[in-house]
Amino acid sequence: MAIEVRIPTILRNYTGNAKVVEGSGDTLSELLSDLDSRHSGLRGRLVTEEGGLHRFVNVYVNDEDVRFLGALDTKLSDGDTVTILPAVAGGAFGFAAAAAILGNRL
């Protein structure tokens, strides 16, 4: 089973500067653990200590945002492409307060 994973520049220090790496897993969570076994530290940048996807990372399977597919439980198939993009966000008064008001999206 081969899943292509596209890595943003900010995480390429974990992949020896590779823009694309391969991994396997039936779910996104399994895939990230698989990647972490070869690219140590990568999973920790994407998954929080509480075990959820980081609020400011976007992960897509093919053309869909995994937030709508089950987040870390998103099912994966052979040949899927997973794309990771760091969220582009910010603003004048800070996100923490806003997130608390609106509730976490995940």
Partner: protein, 173 residues
């Protein structure tokens, strides 16, 4: 920091007047909500040439976030065109054009110029640019280039006269 062909670190943002105008037009249109977007350019060129205003999925006066699907679409398109995000911009609508703590901590494209504009005063153009690497903010100058003024324009005039008409032929390059 972007490295150029000789490994130089770019410490200034050079950007066309027309694109600055388009960014302000976008920010004023969305005011008082924050506006956000990208200016793409050829990979490694450090030239922001293609303005892409984007949605603020947060639609807020105090924060912004790229819509996740538009973000994917724009990034794939840039990839197809051998472009990268040279500038990532957003507006502050009641405060100065300086990165907030969120701006600094969330910034995830260390090669990009983070451009901030403020629309707090409709009569003033506040525009500042920053590099944000590992949460550390460094301001850089903004060099606005006016491409409509062509320093290489040459005009030659040829005058032709006949008894009844006067012909003027101006050729400009």
């Amino acid at each position: 920091m972007t490295s150029g062909p000789q490994g130089k670190l770019y410490a200034v943002l050079t950007i066309d007047r027309a694109i600055v105008d388009a960014i302000f037009a976008h920010a004023r249109r969305d005011h008082p909500d924050e506006a956000c977007g990208v200016v793409a350019g050829p990979v490694g060129s450090d030239r922001p040439v293609r303005h892409i205003p984007m949605q603020n999925a947060a639609r807020s006066m105090t924060f912004y976030e790229f819509d996740s699907m538009e973000y994917l679409k724009v990034w794939r398109e840039m990839d197809d065109r051998d472009e990268e995000a040279v500038v990532i911009y957003h507006s502050h609508t009641a405060t100065k054009a300086y990165p907030s703590r969120s701006d600094a901590s969330i910034a995830g494209w260390p090669e990009a110029h983070y451009l901030l504009v403020s629309t707090r005063d409709p009569a003033v153009e506040e525009i500042r640019s920053f590099r944000i690497v590992d949460g550390a903010v460094t301001e850089e100058p903004v060099r606005i280039v006016d491409a409509t003024v062509d320093p290489h324009a040459v005009q030659t005039y040829m005058f032709g006269q006949s008894p009844a008409t006067v012909d003027y032929e101006c050729s400009g390059r």
